[in-house]
């Protein structure tokens, strides 16, 4: 199978940080940069999709309209999407579907967030039927709890070490040094990681991503629109969306998922051939008719250092148990065969939930265009993003040029 492509005409980001301003500002800044990059006037945009934030009151729940209003109402149709960390990919998918169905030719996708300090926590009130509330009340299980369970499992299954995890941070910190959009731009040594406080054993503070403010936007359009729009100019660096995966788990999902108390039981139906995270990438590859062996660069969700290693295997970059060796070989470092998180990843950004999946697409667009200054991979043609939203929202975007 290979579905029709849409073009990434423009991308833009507001630098990540802890700016403490209204999230709408970041989204508007990113949107204006993306429109300028595309050379498209806001008045010519035919559809707008906003990725929601849950931490900024009502405007965050209706992000599409919030950004449309902030940019100046033009009467165009709108959608707002929520899928936790996958919200941005869902907004991209909404725009892509609109374009592929012929309902519009050019669309704007925006996500932005302002985050409070500390652990992400659930909505307040007595919420006895909300598993996200109950896990804090009954277990004291934060997000790093789950990241740490996966990390410890890697250590038990594959002999991974805390030093291996630290090397992911060292790599990503180096990648992000020259990225003007990254929040943390500082070399980190294995000793720095080892000296940082333990949060959820075996993960230390520098193994776990922070929460950040930030905004990202993309302008998507039909291939016809791109050809007309770029007529006369050099378009051989035009980046296309070859696939968007928004996969869900298949029952029984035997890996413990945030915010659950248990896995599905495998006592009845057989365990599916692919785990949830494997299915996320597989759906994208299948849609595009492209395999993991074709991938030149990737942006994956390193909520923790150890999780980045899980993605190497789940996206098919190496066999299960071989991620540590792949990391140590330098293959996933800039200059290697398949640089992972050339942007610096969440290690350098911190997570701005609804913006993050869009930011991944921005980074790969710059990489495929060859304009990622200070962090450019070696002439990549195919890139994949991957992340996973709470409760089972998969997200991957496959980009080619």
């Amino acid at each position: 199978m290979s579905v029709e492509q849409v073009a990434v005409l423009g991308v833009g980001m507001h630098p990540w940080g802890k700016w403490g301003r209204n999230f709408v500002e970041y989204g508007v800044a990113a949107a204006r940069d993306a429109l300028a990059d595309a050379g498209v006037d806001w008045r010519d945009i035919q559809f707008v999709a906003g990725a929601d934030t849950m931490r900024n009151g009502y405007p965050g729940y209706v992000a599409g309209a919030t950004f449309a209003q902030a940019l100046g109402w033009t009467g165009i149709p709108v959608t707002s999407t929520y899928g936790a960390c996958a919200s941005g990919a869902m907004a991209i998918e909404a725009a892509r579907q609109r374009i592929l169905s012929g309902l519009c030719e050019v669309a704007l996708v925006v996500g932005a967030d302002t985050t409070p300090k500390g652990f992400l926590k659930p909505n307040s009130g007595e919420r006895q039927t909300d598993p996200d509330w109950l896990r804090f009340r009954l277990l004291g299980a934060t997000n790093p709890t789950y990241f740490a369970l996966y990390a410890r499992r890697r250590m038990a299954l594959y002999g991974a070490t805390q030093e291996d995890f630290a090397q992911v941070k060292v790599k990503n910190a180096r990648h992000g040094l020259g990225n003007p959009y990254a929040r943390f731009r500082k070399e980190v040594t294995p000793d720095d990681v080892a000296a940082s406080p333990m949060v959820a054993n075996p993960l230390r503070l520098l193994d776990i991503c922070a929460t950040s403010d930030g905004g990202a936007a993309v302008v998507l359009c039909s291939m016809d629109y791109a050809r007309r729009h770029l007529e006369g100019s050099n378009s051989d660096r035009l980046v296309r969306v070859a696939a968007v995966s928004t996969a869900t788990p298949t029952f029984p999902n035997t890996i413990i998922e945030m915010p659950n108390f248990s896995t599905d039981s495998a006592a009845g139906l057989p365990i599916p051939e692919r785990s949830f995270k494997q299915a996320i990438g597989a759906a994208a590859y299948e849609q595009a008719g492209i395999g993991p062996e074709d991938v030149d660069v990737a942006e994956v969700y390193d909520l923790s250092t150890a999780l980045e290693l899980d993605w190497y295997e789940d996206l098919g970059f190496c066999a299960p148990g071989e991620a540590e060796a792949m990391l140590r070989s330098g293959a996933t470092t800039l200059g290697g065969r398949l640089p992972v998180n050339p942007s610096g990843g969440l290690a350098c950004f911190g997570e701005a939930v609804p913006a993050q999946a869009i930011a991944q697409v921005c980074e790969l667009t710059w990489q495929l265009r060859g304009t990622a200054e200070g962090r450019q991979a070696n002439d990549p043609r195919v890139g994949i993003t991957a992340n996973q939203g709470l409760f089972g929202h998969g997200s991957a975007v496959l980009l080619t040029r």
């Binding site: 652990f119 919420r127 004291g140 996966y150 038990a156 959820a200 993960l203 659950n260 108390f261 139906l269």
Partner: protein, 161 residues
């Protein structure tokens, strides 16, 4: 006299009548047609695709299993986590695989057990313990502990034999 003990959540487990007994049984449901177990108990319909019309029967889950993974909470979790001690004392969290049910169940680990005492693959058992105490009652919860932990049901059995 101690405060009355009440479950921290209704319908997920059974506490013994005798206050001195720290045994606990998790209550789940089982899809009669597919054999799939659910914890917390699924009461609406079986989520095994194709078995929506199957009867869900209430079952007691195994009280022992094998440690799948574990971690600890070095910082006090945010609300609605309830403060237990002041100053805060870190605790472990275990993910335990139950053989019969083919399911992994999370739980806090009893106080006094640190990550250095745990190893993936070791046998664990359930005990009833206090989650937090308010002015009126002790809110009770299930916790995991390594089999043979002092004071555990298994250790007392061994000591008695």
């Amino acid at each position: 006299m101690g405060k009355p003990k009440v479950p921290a959540i209704d319908g997920w487990f059974r506490l013994p009548e005798d206050d001195a007994d720290n045994s606990i049984v998790l209550v789940g449901t089982r899809c009669a047609d597919s054999g799939t177990y659910y914890f917390p108990p699924e009461r609406v319909m079986s989520r095994a695709p194709g078995f929506a019309d199957s009867v869900l029967e209430e079952v007691e889950l195994s009280t022992r299993g094998v440690l799948w993974s574990f971690t600890d909470a070095q910082y006090q979790p945010p609300e609605p986590y309830m403060t237990v001690t002041d100053p805060y004392a870190p605790f472990c969290i275990a993910a335990v695989h139950l053989e019969v049910e083919q399911i992994v169940v999370l739980g806090q680990v009893i106080a006094g057990v640190g990550v250095d005492d745990l190893e993936v693959g070791m046998e664990m058992e359930l005990v009833a313990d206090t989650l937090f105490t308010d002015d009126e009652v002790e809110h009770m919860i299930w916790k995991w502990q390594p089999i043979g932990t002092s004071g555990s049901a298994a250790a007392s059995e061994e000591a008695a034999s």
